[in-house]
Amino acid sequence: MALLHTVNKSPFESNTFDTCLGLAKDGSTILLIEDGVYAATTGHSVAEKIKNASGISFAVLGPDLQARGLEGKLADGIKVVDYEGFVTLVTEHDAVQSWL
């Protein structure tokens, strides 16, 4: 059983990302969307948490990253997907947990 988690809140404004990370098991994927994409950039405490969560795959929605002008600050190891890639991720996992 592998879950796809989506997080749409900034990790600096809410504890949604931390809650998700705490409950995500190895083999699952966390997809960062909307204001959640701020977690995908480099140079802050959240980037360290992502680096240390080695059993979890991280992806970020490209359109939301571009909208916020942060393509150039994307951390290593995070896969960029478009809307089609989002759908593919949904089909590749057993269930989706949308953290709100």
């Binding site: 600096f12 204001d35 140079g43």
Partner: protein
Amino acid sequence: MSVKKFMYVNRKAPYGTIYALESLEVVLIGAAFDQDVSLAFIGDGVYQLTKGQNTEAIGQKNFSPTYSALGDYDVNKIYVEKESLEERGLTLDDLQHLVWEDEDDDWAEKDSIRLVSRAELADVLDEQDIILSF
């Protein structure tokens, strides 16, 4: 009417919620009243000013170019909190270069953004007559 010190405090990232755009519109409307206006960007609010925003793929209006018009509206005191940038792995180079033209100095271009520490910003807030929070 006496001139009052107005401060708009911006704490939200753009696009995820409507606060950033609403604040910008209120600032532009309020600029008609010839008051002493300052803007502060703290917390996720600093993300409003990142350069290179491109909203084409999310189908929302990109309002980041409008920050460059603030100088035309005599809004040229834009405080950015240093700690907020650092906590997010950002530097001033990641933000738009906002300028205003000083009519009394042969239209010389001057920087609008003032990078201030949390303690300095606390002092600026303390001087205000009216504070509007977004």
